[in-house]
């Protein structure tokens, strides 16, 4: 009896592990800048419109302190109540204009952000669908998932909410400083003094906080992972009395959450303290300079009063910008990850096969930098035949399937379909001819119909129902094509999900079907029925079935036995039994003889 051959990176066999092997690229600062500029340029007209409206609104709102100065000086000059009323009516008029402008600006800003966010997320999804599959699997699906979900939402929030707030605040700040200069250039300069320490404090805060925010998020997601593992493994916790260990781990996660949050609080409290100091020191400075200047006769009381009010007012938009700095930083980081998806290089796949003759010729293959898993293996399924590949776990059966399906390319030798390398054939062309079904059977959160029609959007209900009948999915026939599937709606068992996967193939109707342990999760009794039904459904097609158990072998046209990355034996069931080799041994063991 042969022993199992250990394989160093077995994880690749049924879909690589989720752990990070080779993360997707992240765009550099220059690319992120370009991306921001592109977002603005894509909707140039509206961007300009938004800026102009915000600017005008800010200008009209500064009428308040400016007119206040006029009124103060007017009172000194002995204005009448009527004159005051007239000036103040202008004031209210300015506020009204500001109201209309800021409403229009807001609306345009929302629409700009909304459109940009939609464009961003749609572009990401299109890019994701074009990524080379082997690259995605090497990166781990979690990475891509975060980029398409959380990162896209972060940037969208920035475009829709935080962006407009910061833009309006920045414009307001600029206009207020300008107003200060208009009142008196000396006061403008006095107000600018605190800007330098403010910039320095902000830079220091951002540098320290960005790491702290990353740690904070990491601590939260680790706590989430630990708790959801405790939930998913509740029976195991009970069975192995792991309560103590889960408690210790959970408490440790709680401690990490506390530690990272406390650190952020300290950083923020320090920064905000400096911010508040600078707010009021600016007011004091402006008061001081305007007073000295007033004593020198360079300024009226009204101008001094107006300058003080402006200085008080600058703090509101300044603090709004400062408290949103973090969001900009996070948005830029998210955009860098999103743009990174577009940096994945994919070799052009344009070859066109002539015919559907699929073969492996003397292929060697290994994962990453690992050792060879296949050693000069050749396999030639004849068109229309049902070939079963059997062998012990770890022999390289699933690797054969991945090479045949064009997911991976051999290190040497050739995997060809219709005379051209499988990995060079365009995805759409390839999947019309070759379809691989693995143990990993994904069910989309969509109707049963949408889950089936993938390959043939025009397929009628009759075709779909027939496919379900073929794979013996009685439950699905009962539920109807409009039933919603997915965890929130109807959670499928492994067996049911497998039936869906198989029914998809029946609907797709390709020339070659590769089944990699495709019935492994179904009850032994049903597995037999499904295999038989599937064989009938796929009659005339080339079927390559990979199995570690022998259900399907006896009825196959030909059997290939793989051991340690090589074909050990090939032939029909009867021939191999008669040969008395590896297969015969397996068969007798399996039959319990």
């Amino acid at each position: 009896m042969s022993t199992v051959v250990p394989k160093p990176r077995k994880a690749f066999e049924d879909g690589p592990a989720d752990e990070a092997q080779e993360r997707l690229p992240i765009a550099g600062p220059a690319e992120v800048r370009r991306a921001f500029v592109r977002i603005l340029a894509d909707d140039r007209g509206r961007a300009v419109q938004v800026l102009v409206l915000y600017l005008l609104a800010a200008v009209f709102s500064t009428a308040l302190p400016v007119l206040l100065g006029q009124v103060v000086d007017g009172i000194g000059a002995g204005w009448s109540v009527a004159r005051i009323n007239a000036v103040c009516s202008v004031l209210v008029g300015c506020v009204a204009v500001q109201f209309v402008l800021s409403r229009l600006g807001r609306r345009a800003g929302y629409r700009f952000g909304e459109r940009a966010a939609a464009q961003l997320r749609e572009r990401v999804v299109v890019r994701v669908l074009r990524l080379p599959l082997d690259r995605v699997e090497r990166a781990g699906r979690g990475d891509l998932g975060t980029r398409t979900a959380a990162d896209v939402n972060t940037v969208a929030d920035l475009l829709r909410d935080h962006g407009p707030i910061v833009a309006t605040s920045l414009i307001e700040v600029v206009v207020l400083y300008a107003a200060m200069f208009v009142i008196d250039p000396l006061l403008g300069l006095a107000a600018l003094v605190t800007l330098v320490p403010l910039m320095l404090a902000a830079r220091r805060y951002l540098r320290r906080a960005s790491g702290a925010f990353v740690e904070q998020r990491a601590a939260l997601s680790e706590a989430a992972e630990t708790l959801s593992a405790s939930g998913a493994g509740s029976q195991t916790v009970a069975a192995l009395a792991l309560q103590r260990r889960r408690r210790d781990l959970g408490y440790r996660r709680g401690e990490q959450v506390f530690g990272t949050f406390a650190r952020v609080v300290v950083l923020q409290s320090e920064f905000f303290m400096v911010l508040l100091w600078l707010n009021r020191i600016q007011v004091a400075l402006v008061l001081l300079v305007s007073g000295l200047w007033y004593f020198e006769g360079g300024l009226t009381v009204g101008a001094a009063a107006a300058a003080a009010t402006i200085a008080v007012r600058i703090s509101n938009p300044t603090n709004a910008v400062m408290t949103h700095l973090g969001e900009f930083q996070q948005g830029a980081a998210a955009l860098a990850r999103i743009e990174g998806v577009g940096l994945v290089e994919s070799a052009p796949r344009e070859a066109v096969p002539s015919g559907s003759d699929l073969r492996l010729d003397a292929v060697t293959f290994g994962y990453g930098d690992g050792p060879d898993v296949l050693h000069g293996l050749s396999l030639h399924p004849r068109p229309g035949e049902r070939l079963v590949v059997v062998g012990p776990s770890g022999a390289g059966k699933s690797t054969i399937a991945r090479l045949l399906a064009g997911i991976d390319r051999p290190r040497s030798g050739a995997a060809t379909l219709g005379g051209v390398a499988v990995g060079d054939i365009g995805v759409e062309e390839l999947r019309r001819r070759v379809v691989l079904v693995t143990q990993e059977h994904y069910v989309f959160t969509a109707t049963l119909r949408d889950n089936l029609v993938l390959a043939a959007p025009e397929a009628g209900d009759a075709t779909l129902l027939e496919a379900l009948r073929r794979v013996d999915a009685g439950w699905a026939l009962e539920a109807g094509l409009d039933v919603m599937l997915g965890d929130e709606h109807r959670r499928l068992s492994t067996a049911e999900a497998q039936q869906i996967a198989l029914a998809r193939v029946v609907v797709a109707d390709p020339d070659v079907v590769i089944l990699d342990e495709a019935t492994a999760g179904i009850d032994p009794a049903s597995a037999g029925r499904v295999e038989t039904a599937l064989a009938a459904a796929l009659a005339g097609r080339t079927v390559i079935a990979i199995a570690h158990q022998l259900q399907a072998a006896a009825s196959a046209d030909r059997i290939a036995v793989v051991e340690a990355g090589r074909i050990a034996e090939e032939g029909s069931h009867a021939e191999l039994l008669a040969a008395g080799g590896v297969y015969a041994g397996l068969w007798h063991a399996w039959r319990g003889e």
Binding site: K7, R9, V71, Q98, A118, G231, S269, L288, G291, L550
Partner: protein, 553 residues
């Protein structure tokens, strides 16, 4: 029967969390209140600078008031920052206690959470929900700070002139009355909109999750189209939200400015009549400017409290989940056979029983009843199983299924025994490739859920873990379904040898186990159909067909 859920209400949760840190919260409140009062007095001092300094042309008074403003600015910043730190720390501590309480609850509820708390919820609870809920604590601080600013401001403006005080109070009330309901409506719209964002995010996740299917079989165009259509619909919905929300935002932004204009106007008339000073007018105008920020803060506090309530409600619900298995029995020291009434399955002590069946599900349920993961009238010796202390049942009877979980920890911690015993268990389960694959190191890490292992490796590692625990009774459901025949045969042989003296049940359809069985139970439709030695049962042609794979071959 599980006891009725203990009432953990959102309010009790929040007050409990804050109450535990009452000293910190109290000190923080004092800091925030003083900071707010100081901030507002500075505005009053601006009037003093203008009146006593500038207009009176008094250099000394001018310098004094500027100096006081600068000093109080330092104190105010310091107090605010202290308050922020105290409340922020209380908030962080509250988050820590939420994670702890959830951890404890999961341990207490055990399998009771299955079907009641989804995996997605468990991800959100300690992160999003707890963040939202504890934000209520920090927000209370801000609310206090703003209230202090508001009250001090009103009092100081009142001292300038009562009419101005009236305008400020009336204006603030008007702002709150007008903006409050508008904000409520905006929130409603935005929460609908947020829900749609959630759906769209789920769609994107679906595309990534099923990427292999979409690329391998097709549907990428279909799903991309569907996503685009939904994304565009969301955009249009966003446009619609933009109309009312831009009105509301503009109103929110402009109302306080209008209010400043009203104060300035009133103040100007009072000043012209000589009722207030010029400095008083400048102060009043500055007060109104700061009230803009204060009224906005009141409204956003309200938003945070609503969000906190929602988060606290979710957490409170999970903290109320109870165990689905009652632990009311007290009996210990059970002897005799385990018997499941529903299926008729009995477990013979000290033997390897192989349960042969074409339908795994009902046999698994029978094992779950015998291991008390389902309540039933199963018996252990002379007494109902439920009469025994749960700890005794868990310690002496172990269930092994494919749903068992592999936690993120080292191989050593996974196997939970000394290295020799661990390696022996690995050997017995033919899991040597797991060990060598991880670098032949017991300290190598198994990823969460065993993600860095293949399906077959996970199954064998779970078996090794169960064998290492050496339970008196092991109920194993399809322990070798993902293993090839050669290896399966080896495992059957080794398990039979290692557990020669112990009680073992293996539910399987594989004949490879039968050769090692002391006793075979043949189950049909979830009921025991026949039992005896494998060789005796072979007399039945149906059994023979099932036990030699003829049915499926």
């Amino acid at each position: 029967m599980p006891s009725p859920p203990r009432a953990t209400t959102p309010l009790r949760l929040l007050t409990g969390l804050a109450g535990r840190h009452w000293r910190r919260v109290l000190l923080g409140s004092i800091c925030f209140a003083c900071a707010g009062a100081t901030a507002m007095s500075q505005l009053w001092m601006i009037g003093k600078v203008i009146d006593d300094g500038l207009i009176a042309r008094d250099g000394e008074a001018f310098a004094r008031w500027i100096g006081i403003i600068a000093c109080t600015a330092i104190v105010q910043g310091f107090l605010w920052s202290r308050g922020f730190r105290l409340f922020g720390t209380a908030d962080a501590r509250a988050q820590r206690s939420i994670v702890r309480r959830l951890t404890d609850r999961l341990n207490l509820a055990g399998t009771g959470i299955r079907g009641r708390v989804s995996a997605g919820e468990l991800v959100n609870l300690p992160s999003e929900d707890s963040r939202r809920a504890t934000r209520a604590i920090a927000e209370t601080g801000f609310l206090l700070n703003n209230t202090a600013m508001f009250t001090t401001g009103v009092v100081l403006v009142w001292t300038i002139h009562p009419l101005l005080g009236v305008v400020i109070v009336a204006g603030s009330l008007l702002t709150a009355l007008l903006a409050g309901p508008l904000l409520g409506r905006l929130q409603q719209r935005q929460s609908d909109y947020r829900a749609h964002i959630g759906h769209l995010t789920a769609d994107a996740a679906d595309i990534v999750g099923g990427l292999r299917v979409l690329r391998g079989i097709g549907g990428d165009v279909l799903f991309a189209e569907r996503y685009r259509a939904r994304s565009d619909a969301l955009r249009d919905m966003g446009y619609q939200v933009a109309n009312p929300s831009s009105w509301i935002h503009a109103l929110r932004h402009s109302m306080p400015i209008l209010f400043v204009a009203a104060i300035t106007w009133t103040g100007a008339i009072l000043a012209v009549r000589g009722d207030i000073t010029i400095g008083g007018l400048a102060s009043a105008s500055s007060f109104a400017t700061i009230f803009i920020a204060v009224s906005g803060n009141f409204l956003s506090s309200a938003n945070f409290f609503v969000a906190a309530w929602v988060g606290a409600k979710r957490i409170a619900r999970v903290l109320s989940v109870e165990s689905d298995i009652a632990d009311e029995g007290a009996a210990t020291g059970a002897t005799g056979t385990l018997r499941d009434g529903v299926s008729g399955l009995t477990v013979q002590v000290g033997a390897l029983t192989v349960v042969v069946t074409a339908e795994t599900a009902p046999a698994q349920e029978a094992c779950e009843r015998l291991a008390r993961y389902r309540e039933s009238d199963a018996r252990w010796g002379d007494l109902p199983l439920a009469d025994f202390a749960l700890a005794e049942v868990r310690e002496r009877i172990m269930l092994l299924t494919d749903e068992d979980y592999l936690f993120a920890e080292s191989l050593r911690s996974t196997l939970r025994v000394d290295p020799d015993a661990a390696l022996a268990a690995v050997e017995a389960a033919c899991a040597a490739d797991v060990y060598t694959g991880l670098g032949s190191d017991l300290d190598a890490q198994v990823a969460e859920g065993g993600r860095n292992l293949s399906g077959g490796q996970r199954q064998r590692l779970r078996l090794a873990r169960a064998l290492a625990a050496e339970p008196e009774t092991l109920l194993a459901v399809e322990p070798t379904s993902a293993v090839d025949s050669h290896t399966e045969s080896l495992i059957a042989e080794r398990v039979a040898a290692t557990r020669a003296e112990a009680t073992t049940v293996v539910v399987t359809a594989s004949p490879l186990w039968l050769a090692h069985a002391d006793r075979v139970v043949w189950m049909v439709d979830g009921k025991v159909h026949a039992e005896g030695a494998h060789s005796d049962l072979l007399a039945d042609p149906d059994y023979r067909r099932l036990a030699s794979h003829l049915e499926t071959a």
